[in-house]
Symmetry: C2
């Protein structure tokens, strides 16, 4: 009989366990993991490189100074970060089939004046909107239902003027979420941006931006070192959970071959994976609908190692943003030279492109990647040492990367069940985070939150009064309160007709004062004397 069984030994599960044991070392705790390793969507591997062999991240790799939870953990575990290399020319190739390759060194691509204006107005609009979103309870944001009833793509169609920027936003959507702009709710995009501190933070390598730092030795170390601190004996690998059965006093967590009793479960599976488990009693309807409205992105990451960082020598930073085409699989690449100096490039085949290219052979994809690198950085790109890639859609117990997105209607209708415990089951995972949701930092934050909830249940004495209050979460919304008042929006036609009538009258008054004077005179004459007296004393 355990106190707590945690499903998943990724960053959220391990952070939860770490926090639980730090507060109450007596807790009997077990972590069950389907994979044969810890780390979830982080994975650090040896790759043949200039210096013989070196380590690279094939999963999550960047952290930022603004990501307090992961930065704190990095420091605590004695790990070191170093900045993403960004010096030199960046390659930019967007804007239709006949677009030219352009180079720039500032933080802003070399847009034409029109596209630049478009970019500024669009980013201003979405950033202002994202600031109005309530991350904890997004359905309470102003205009939530309308924003959640449209796709990100619909908003782009309505508010972006230029074809080039439309394409650019699609590339951003693919690179950040692993999905097309048509495949997520616009309110979700805003909430995700808000959780990161702003739209620009998601895209930038500048201080605070999501691509600011990398971790020396790889990000999987975070999970490995956490597992060591927790105690390896508490982490059982290759044990995929199949069912969670709740009784009156305990929960039974079943794997293919074993069964474990406990008081509380923390389920850290990404929503589409959590939906595959058997639950007894069945999950509530809104939680079931929630997981049906949160598909996972598709991302294939590749590392290409080189004998020399030829791009740096030629004045390139290694950053490429490429328009989608049948010849170039990737959306973006970056310099990935290791801290010990082994030159490498990292790139992402994302969203629909990942989907299209996943049906081709590895060699074909590799050749397409390398010949695109040759096109953008020069012939030296063809003399690589090693090409390695990871298609996260094929990874068992992940099934996709980097994050589960939310479809229209999910945030306003089913979101309350995202973090709400179901009986003895508590939910964690980066999708449930409110700060840097979808990132490693979010995973850690969600683990801390779930640990608080469980401690409030099992060891309330270890918590301060504030923490006990925080662990209860927001008051459960009265779902039916004024739901149906949303449905009735304003009606543009009567408004437009009224405005037109007013404008016409005003024009008439200005252009032909005589007519209006006549009309007013006649109206006054027509009105009964009593009324006239009051109006024109």
């Amino acid at each position: 009989m355990y106190d707590i069984v945690i499903v998943g030994a990724g960053l959220s599960g391990l952070s939860a366990a770490h926090n639980l044991l730090r507060r109450d070392a007596k807790l009997k705790l077990l972590i069950l993991e389907g994979k044969d390793r810890v780390g979830g969507r982080t994975l650090t591997q040896d790759v043949p490189a200039a210096g013989g062999v070196d380590r690279w991240d094939l999963g999550g790799q960047w952290v930022a100074s603004s990501q307090t939870h992961v930065m704190q953990l990095i420091e605590e575990l004695g790990l070191v970060v170093y900045p993403q290399y960004t010096k030199g020319k960046k390659v930019h190739h967007m804007g239709g089939p006949r677009a030219k390759i352009s180079h720039y060194t500032s933080s802003m691509p070399s847009y034409s004046l029109l596209v630049l204006l478009d970019f500024v107005q669009f980013i201003w609009k979405i950033d202002r909107l994202s600031k109005s979103v309530c991350v904890e309870e997004p359905w309470r944001s102003p205009d939530a239902v309308r924003l959640d009833s449209m796709t990100f793509s619909s908003y782009i169609e309505q508010h972006v003027w230029t074809r080039e920027l439309k394409e650019e936003m699609a590339v951003c959507s693919r690179a950040v979420f692993g999905v097309e702009p048509s495949q997520m709710s616009f309110l979700f995009f805003l909430m995700y941006s808000a959780a990161a501190g702003g739209v620009v933070q998601l895209l930038e390598t500048s201080p605070g931006g999501a691509q600011e730092f990398r971790v020396k030795g790889g990000t999987q170390q975070l999970s490995e070192r956490l597992a060591e601190r927790i105690g390896i004996e508490r982490v059982q690998l290759s044990s995929p959970v199949t069912a969670i059965c709740q009784g009156d006093d305990s929960v039974e967590v079943r794997t293919l071959s074993e069964s474990f009793s406990c008081k509380v479960v923390i389920n850290t599976c990404p929503p589409h994976m959590a939906a595959k488990l058997q639950y007894q009693p069945a999950l509530p309807a809104d939680r079931q609908q929630l997981s049906q409205h949160m598909p996972v992105g598709h991302m294939t990451k590749f590392i290409v190692t080189y004998p020399t960082a030829f791009w740096r020598e030629k004045g390139f930073s290694g950053e490429i943003v490429a328009r989608p085409s049948n010849s170039c699989p990737f959306s973006v690449t970056f310099d990935a030279t290791s801290p010990s100096g082994s030159p490498a490039l990292v790139g992402f085949i994302a969203g629909l492109q990942a989907h299209d290219w996943s049906s081709t052979k590895l060699e074909e994809r590799r050749d397409a990647v390398v010949s695109s690198l040759v096109r953008y950085l020069g012939p030296e790109a063809s003399h690589f040492i090693h090409y390695v890639e990871k298609d996260w859609a094929q990874e068992p117990y992940s099934g996709g990367c980097p994050v589960n997105v939310m479809m229209p209607g999910m945030l306003t209708y089913f979101h309350p069940s995202l973090r709400r415990p179901f009986g003895r089951i508590h939910w964690a995972g980066t999708e449930t985070a409110t700060e840097w949701c979808g990132y490693m930092s979010g995973a850690i934050q969600s683990g801390h939150r779930a640990a608080l909830e469980v401690l409030a249940r099992l060891s309330p004495h270890t918590l301060s009064q504030e923490e006990r209050k925080a662990a209860q979460g927001p008051a459960q919304p009265n779902a039916q309160s004024d739901r149906w008042s949303y449905v009735t929006g304003y009606s543009p036609l009567p408004v437009a007709l009224t405005l037109t009538a007013i404008t016409l009258c005003a024009t008439l008054l200005l252009v032909k004062p005589q007519i209006s004077r006549d009309v007013i005179g006649q109206v006054i004459a027509w009105l009964p004397a009593r009324v006239t007296k009051r109006v024109v004393p």
Copy 2:
């Protein structure tokens, strides 16, 4: 060792089996069903009524003369249909919190002139669009990516002028699909309408419309009689399939306690249920994504039986269309008096309303339904005999009703995997139909199609050359062919600027011909003599 194992004993699985055995009686065939009954989303039950007890459908209940597959089966099985009762006043209560209850007898609600105009223009637009959609390969329809990048809600926002019609369309969406307009792709709505022969067909009780006929004795009889014809010993109930493992020469289908070997599997589970099975090897990425983009609707159906059909006596047809509010759970009701004359009303709590009301107690829902009936039909409505309801979201191995919808991005990106066999697994179920998709008729059509595919594999001699060709399905699309040419849409700003410039010039020419003549004269004077000669000979 079986030839075929069919997962699911609903209408599609049973129709497939029926067709298979009719063509080749030697086939060894087994149907595995999770529920303890056949019929899937059809269910006929005894309900206390005026005549003691009578039978009503708590699942799918209507058929139409335009639904050839189900009408043919009804005839073949010796069943009888009778028309939906529609005589008398219909109750219509839409259009904002202060809207009045109105009555009408025609097929069109008593709209104001403005709403009527709006209705006509909107239905004309979406019907014309739906006629342009290719049901078999929707991604090939004109403008498919744009139509699939928006929700039905976004299209309504852009093209409906009046608040009342917006509300009306939301009620239609709930009643037909069990979801809000924000929760489905607009292209899916169009394809679904096209598969039914037009938008109006979905909504009407008139000849050919989806609500035209009911089946005497209930629709579950279709499945029961099919099961008898196939042989009850071939249908194994209460045997939920958990895993499908494909080897080189055979497939192993596992339930909780047994395992069956076969050559081919027909999987008729609705997509969100099919996703819960274990597959070895894993389903292809696009099929996995498909099921993540097809949530199921939410529908609760209720039957209220009465001593007399008091509404008929008062001149009502029993049809009510009600605006959503906190007091009225249902969207629509109809007369449901049985062929033997037991008076009853049937109604639907659908979409978000089903979701909201599912958390209340049965008694509370019943009282709210009855008091709404009192409000719309008179005080006699409170003297009911029995109230019975079925929340399909709670039904094991269904999890929702009436149909799985498609989210934006699904149709253009993942749809090809909807009917494409995966190794020895073939797909059926009403969601895979191309005629009356989502209806009983569609389920039967999909069963026929899957049977053809399997016969082409196992007993090709039983098929005509045409059938063999049809069984291959459409040529697999070359997914990458010109996918990325879609991305580049037109750019409205340059077009608008050009049009403005032309308009200004034209206005100038008309208003001040002298100015234009001067300008043209100067331009000609400025041009070199040679060029001028060619232009003005």
